[in-house]
């Protein structure tokens, strides 16, 4: 086996990885271009681009959690809580912005630490632990905000106002997070260990590597990314204690549409990004053709199921053609 053939096979592997998702996205755009009036307009794309960043950043953390065969149901609540802390410290306590942001990030990190700590120390299923955190963080959010929306007025305008090559700061940040996370997953020791945990945790332990610290780090990262997303989300929607409800399911849907396995051991951050785009294009497009909420949800649900079935066949095809899964 020569170097060049491995390079070629890896390149085709890479294309096979992302091409499917890109094609699905393009088809979706073409369909809405046909059936919706004025779909191809600056407004439409700005609208989509504005909705994408926060969920993308959360879905990146979720991708890692799913790769280690875990799940994080608490992301929506952590987003609300860290957003609330940001709003309260900034507006009510008049803390300087850097300090307020640090406490916002700190809260997200702490929630992730609690999630991961419970999962690792007691070997509890992450489903249960993060379900608990979903309630705990939401309750804490109501306490912190006294169940009232904290208005930031101009406090976070810098997040929404500036743009970079025509793209908003949050959008650029989300892209950067996606790329960085994909690099971490593909090329670092940490990425390796994550995939190893999801593939065969017992074999990793018997290889002399303790999975505990890696799992902890993944949950901490997920919590931290929720806090980062909360800054963007709060800039758009204020520190509403009901922020991010149901976001966990949207994030999981995006990750799964992107072909990450719920059984762990396999996943791609870039495809998660495509998953987010598909969900948001679908949502926006359906709204533009005047679909009502029930229809939107029905169609989104069908797309999720169809994506998973498609991925099943894609995976089998890759397996039989001898490419690494």
């Amino acid at each position: 086996m020569t170097k060049s053939t491995t390079f070629v096979s890896r390149l085709t592997g890479l294309l096979a990885d992302y091409l499917g998702m890109a094609v699905a996205l393009v088809i979706l755009l073409l369909v809405f271009g046909r059936i919706a009036d004025n779909f191809y307009s600056w407004d439409t794309f700005r609208n989509i681009a504005d909705q994408v960043p926060d969920i993308t950043i959360i879905a990146v953390g979720m991708t890692f959690v799913l790769i280690i065969a875990g799940i994080d149901l608490s992301v929506g609540s952590i987003l609300a809580l860290s957003g609330a802390v940001l709003g309260v410290t900034l507006v009510q306590l008049h803390w300087p912005l850097p300090l307020a942001m640090a406490s916002c990030l700190g809260v997200g990190l702490l929630c992730g630490l609690l999630n991961g700590g419970l999962v690792v120390a007691w070997g509890l299923p992450s489903f249960i632990v993060t379900l608990g955190m979903l309630e705990i963080a939401r309750g804490a959010t109501y306490l912190v905000t006294s169940s009232r929306t904290v208005y930031l007025f101009d406090g976070l305008n810098w997040v929404t106002d500036y743009s970079f090559l025509g793209l908003s700061v949050p959008f650029v940040l989300a892209i950067a997070v996606v790329l960085l996370a994909q690099l971490v997953l593909s090329f670092t020791v940490f990425g390796r260990y994550m995939i190893a945990i999801g593939t065969n945790e017992q074999a990793l332990r018997l290889s002399g590597i303790s999975p505990g610290r890696i799992k902890l780090a993944v949950f901490v990262l997920s919590g931290l990314l929720c806090a980062v997303a909360s800054i963007i989300h709060t800039a758009h929607y204020q520190a509403n204690p009901n922020n991010g409800q149901g976001l966990e399911l949207q994030a999981i849907a995006a990750v799964v549409i992107g072909g990450t396995s719920l059984m762990g051991g396999r996943g791609s951050v870039i495809n998660t990004f495509f998953g987010v785009l598909i969900i948001k294009v679908l949502e926006t497009g359906l709204a533009q053709v005047g679909a009502q909420e029930p229809t939107k949800r029905l169609i989104t649900g069908l797309v999720i199921v169809a994506a998973v079935i498609l991925d099943y066949y894609r995976h089998r095809l890759r397996k039989s053609s001898g490419l690494p899964g």
Binding site: M1, T6, S9, R10, F187, T188, V189, F190, R192, I195, A196, T199, N200, Q202, A203, L204, R205, L206, S207, G208, I209, S210, G265, R266, G322, P324, G325
Partner: protein
């Protein structure tokens, strides 16, 4: 209870192979109603394969079976059970969260409108249970709350409660106390009087001599002899179980036995490792022989920190200070590697590539600041593929696509890269074809001649005697003997492996 019962079941020319391994070749067996027919043989002699074929769990590759003169070819366990053939296996078949009564009558729960009639169920269960001496257990107790021995009796009760013409018991007394075993024998006796044919598989030869009417001895998947139990002695049985021809030693390395690499002092771990003391030297291959369940894997896992140690100490590399190894991570840092028995479940990441698997325990060697150097990893992969002659399309091929022997080589490569000094191989040649086996033997010798200390666990005495410098024998968790190469005799080793079953002792005997 005589051998003169009519012929209930007859098998002719049964053969079965698993990949390259011939588990059974042309086996004949006759079961007579109302008798106990014992199957004896070493590990892998074919006892379990034979009984699984009779019980419909596996189909034979060739051969015919007849039940009461009718041709009998069950395509699954249910069909065999329908015909009255029940097997109680070593791994139990009970559902922990259901009650004893529910388990016994699982496929025939008395019900009305879909609701289970518990009074009826518990009454019938109590009746069945009293027959096997389980009067003291409540039929509504959860099976999971019972001890292993009791669970075994529940399973036997379940087997006997139904239409049963042939009852196959695979090592039924392995986890029974004497009193329970006594009750079991009484049950077997009663079943025989009802005309049931009992197939009895056990390592405990004293038991076989006590309850069997006929004994069939298997070796390497063939029937050595079938004879009446009356008049047989334990010695005769053991002698027929082992072939007397030992293959010549593979290779004699010069001066096996450098400095002590690993010393165990009265190591106890769980119920299966009891008071084991031994030494393993650099440059040596020490074989570890024993019957299935004699505690060899458990000993290996205890040394590797995968299971907790109850008492005793481990000394490494001639140090006087005992080393506390509480996790595989600490073991690996101390240069100990364990190549597990179940390489697919515990040793490999099957969907991942060869280089991924090899580099995993040693990623620091091909990464900088946490970023993996692919080119370096690739060349490490190529290097080991070359030096261990792993047959594959390249370092990027997923390990799951390789043959068993080549998968095993990937596991070996991984620990070679990790630079471990003490390597514990647990059944490294299981399920591997003959050619690859010899390559593994050669690798073990190479490792020893490079000064590594090798502990080689195997159920195949022939390969142990061919490869090892010394052989230690475990019997029921105790070290019963250690042999040096000039004293190898299959009979003596087999005797040592059975020793704790024949006359349980508390001390270790060195020969």
């Amino acid at each position: 209870m005589t051998e003169s019962g009519y012929i209930l079941f007859e098998a002719r020319g049964l053969s079965k192979s698993f990949g390259p391994v011939q588990a059974l070749s042309a086996v004949d067996l006759v079961l007579r109603s109302g008798t106990v027919h014992a199957l004896v043989g070493e590990n892998g002699a074919g006892k379990s394969s034979l009984s699984k074929i009779i019980a419909g769990i596996q189909p034979p590759d060739a051969g015919q079976m007849q039940l009461e003169g009718q041709s009998f070819a069950p395509s699954n366990r249910r069909q065999a059970e329908h015909a009255g053939i029940r097997m109680v296996m070593q791994e139990l078949n009970l559902i922990d969260n259901l009650s004893v009564a529910e388990n016994i009558f699982l496929d025939q729960l008395p019900s009305r409108f879909g609701f289970v009639r518990y009074p009826t169920l518990n009454r019938s269960a109590r009746e069945v249970m009293s027959r096997v001496g389980l009067e003291e257990i409540s039929p509504s107790a959860a099976v999971g709350s019972l001890g292993v021995g009791t669970r075994q009796m529940v399973e036997i009760a379940a087997g006997l409660s139904r239409n049963c013409r042939i009852l196959i018991l695979d090592e039924p007394t392995a986890s029974l106390a004497d009193r329970e075993a006594g009750l079991l024998f009484r049950q077997i006796h009663q079943a025989c009087q009802r005309g049931v044919a009992v197939v009895y598989i056990s390592h405990r030869i004293d038991e076989i001599l006590r309850i069997a009417d006929e004994v069939t001895i298997l070796r390497d998947g063939r029937v050595v002899s079938t004879q009446l139990a009356r008049g047989l002695t334990a010695d005769e049985i053991i002698r027929s179980m082992v072939g007397r021809d030992l293959p010549p030693r593979q290779q004699t390395r010069s001066a096996a036995g450098g400095a002590v690499a690993l010393r165990l002092d009265c190591l106890c771990a769980g119920p299966k490792v009891r008071d084991v003391s031994m030494e393993l030297h650099r440059g040596e291959i020490l074989g570890l022989a024993g019957l299935m369940g004699s505690g060899r894997t458990e000993l290996a896992r205890a040394i590797f920190g995968a299971d907790p140690i109850d008492s005793g100490s481990i000394y490494l590399y001639g140090s006087d200070r005992p080393e506390r190894i509480r996790s595989p991570r600490q073991a690996v840092r101390n240069g100990i590697a364990l190549l597990t028995e179940d390489r697919k479940q515990q040793g490999l990441f099957l969907p991942q590539s060869i280089r991924y698997n090899i580099s995993l325990p040693r990623l620091d060697s091909c990464s900088r600041l946490g970023v993996i150097n692919s080119a370096r990893e690739q060349s490490i992969g190529e290097q080991y593929i070359e030096s261990l002659s792993i047959r594959c399309s390249g370092p990027d091929q997923p390990v799951g696509q390789l043959s068993g022997g080549n998968q095993q080589k990937v596991v070996i490569a991984k620990w070679l890269l990790r630079d471990c000094e003490i390597l514990i191989f647990d059944e490294p040649t299981r399920g591997i074809d003959v050619g690859a086996k010899f390559e593994i033997y050669r690798l073990l010798s190479d490792l020893a001649s490079r000064g590594k200390a090798v502990l080689f666990i195997s159920s195949d005495l022939k390969e142990l005697t061919a490869v090892c410098d010394r052989i230690a024998v475990l019997s029921a968790g105790r070290l019963t003997a250690t042999f040096t190469a000039q004293d190898y005799s299959e009979q003596a080793i087999t005797e040592a492996a059975f020793r704790e079953h024949l006359n349980p002792s508390s001390g270790e005997v060195r020969s």
